[in-house]
Symmetry: C2
Subunit: 206 residues, 2 copies
C-alpha cells in the first residue's frame, strides 16, 4: 500500500513511501537488530542502494518509519556535552524539551502505547533504545560502576514522569513548568551517578 502524498501525481510511484511501509513490516517481523537495509529493499522491490540513498542507514530509516521525532545523536551530544556532575539535569532538560513540544508528544506516545500493547513493538523499542540511545549515552558515563543499569534507571524515571504528566495527568506534576520539573527530577537522576562514584571513593567533577 502506498500513501498519497501532497504534490504527488495520482498513479506516480511513491518509492519512498513503499520503502517506509516495507521497513515497518520488516522491523515488526525481525526487530531492530534483525532487520536489514537489504531485506527492507527486497520487501519494497527496490535496489538496496536506493534505500541507502533515501535514508542513509538503518537508524535513520527506523526513525522515519516509526515517526520518532528526535535524533538519538543529538540527545547523546546533549547528555555528553558537559560535566558528569550535571548529567542528571542535562538529561532531564533534553528529555522534557522534546516531550514538551506538542508536535512531538503525539508520535512519542504512539510509540510507547504500541510497545505497551504489542510484544513485537516492545522488542523493537528495546533494541532501538539499547543500540541507538543507551550505547551512545553510556559514552558519557566513563568510570561509573554499573553504568548500563544506572543509565536505564535514569531513562525509566524520565519515561515514568512523561506518563504521569502527559498520559495520566496527575496533579501537581502535570502542570509544573519544565523548569520546575528539571529542578525536581535532575537531582534524583544525578544520584545514579553520584552514588556509583561514591562507592569508588570518587565524586563527579564540576
Amino acid at each position: 500500500m502506498t500513501r498519497a502524498r501532497p504534490g504527488r501525481r495520482p498513479g506516480a510511484p511513491d518509492t519512498k513511501g513503499d520503502i517506509l511501509t516495507a521497513a515497518r513490516t520488516e522491523f515488526a517481523a525481525k526487530g531492530y537488530d534483525g532487520a536489514s537495509m537489504r531485506g527492507i529493499a527486497a520487501r519494497a522491490g527496490v535496489d538496496a542502494s536506493l534505500v541507502h540513498h533515501y535514508f542513509r542507514g538503518k537508524e535513520k530509516l527506523f526513525l522515519a518509519a516509526m515517526e520518532i521525532p528526535f535524533d538519538p545523536e543529538v540527545i547523546a551530544e546533549r547528555v555528553e556535552g558537559g560535566p558528569l556532575a550535571t548529567v542528571g539535569e542535562r538529561a532531564a532538560r533534553t528529555f522534557f524539551e522534546i516531550w514538551g513540544d506538542p508536535d512531538r508528544q503525539g508520535p512519542l506516545l504512539a510509540v510507547l502505547r504500541s510497545a505497551m500493547s504489542h510484544p513485537d513493538a516492545a522488542r523493537m523499542l528495546r533494541e532501538f533504545v539499547t543500540r541507538s540511545i543507551l550505547s551512545r549515552v553510556l559514552l558519557a558515563f566513563e568510570g561509573v560502576p554499573d553504568a548500563p543499569l544506572r543509565a536505564e534507571a535514569m531513562v525509566s524515571h524520565l519515561i515514568g514522569v512523561a506518563i504521569a504528566r502527559y498520559v495520566v495527568q496527575l496533579e501537581p506534576i502535570a502542570s509544573a513548568s519544565d523548569d520546575e520539573i528539571v529542578a525536581l527530577i535532575g537531582p534524583a537522576l544525578q544520584t545514579y551517578v553520584d552514588k556509583a562514584l561514591a562507592t569508588k571513593g570518587l565524586a563527579a567533577e564540576d
Copy 2:
C-alpha cells in the same frame, strides 16, 4: 452481561457479577470521583445496601471491578511504617514485591495499558491514585516541602522502572533481582525527601 462463575447454577442470578459490571461502566463514564455506590446500585438494578454488603465501600468496589491486585491501605502502612530516612527503600521494596508476583503483574499491566490508550481509563487511574494512594502516602511526608510533587515523582519513577523491566524488558535492568533493584532505585527515591528537607536545613531522622 453476567459472567458464568465456577459453582454457580446455570441461570442463577449473579448479583455480585452484575454489580461489578455496573461498576466498570459507571467508573468509566463518571471517573472514580464522580461514580457513587448509589449510582452503581441503580445501574445494576439492586439496592444500594446490597452493594455495601458485598463491597463495603467505593474503594473496595473499584479494586474488585478493576481487578487491582493490591490494597492501597497496606501500601500506605508499609510506606509510613518506618523513618523518613528510609522511605525511598521501603517504597521501592513494597512496589517490586507486588509487581514481582506473576499473578499480580498481568492485572497491573492491564490497568496501565488501558490508561495509556483510553482517556476515560487514564482519568479513572488518576483519580484513584490521587485519592487512594497519594493521599495516604502523603501522611508519611509530614514537614517535607512540595510533598505532593515529590511523592508523584517517586511513584512516576517506580512506574517507569516497571515498564522498563516488565514491558520493554531492557537489559540489564529487567534481569536484576528485586534486591538489586531496591538498592539501585531506593537512594534516588530518597533524594526527593532528602533534598526537600535540606532546603529547610533539616535532615530525615533515622
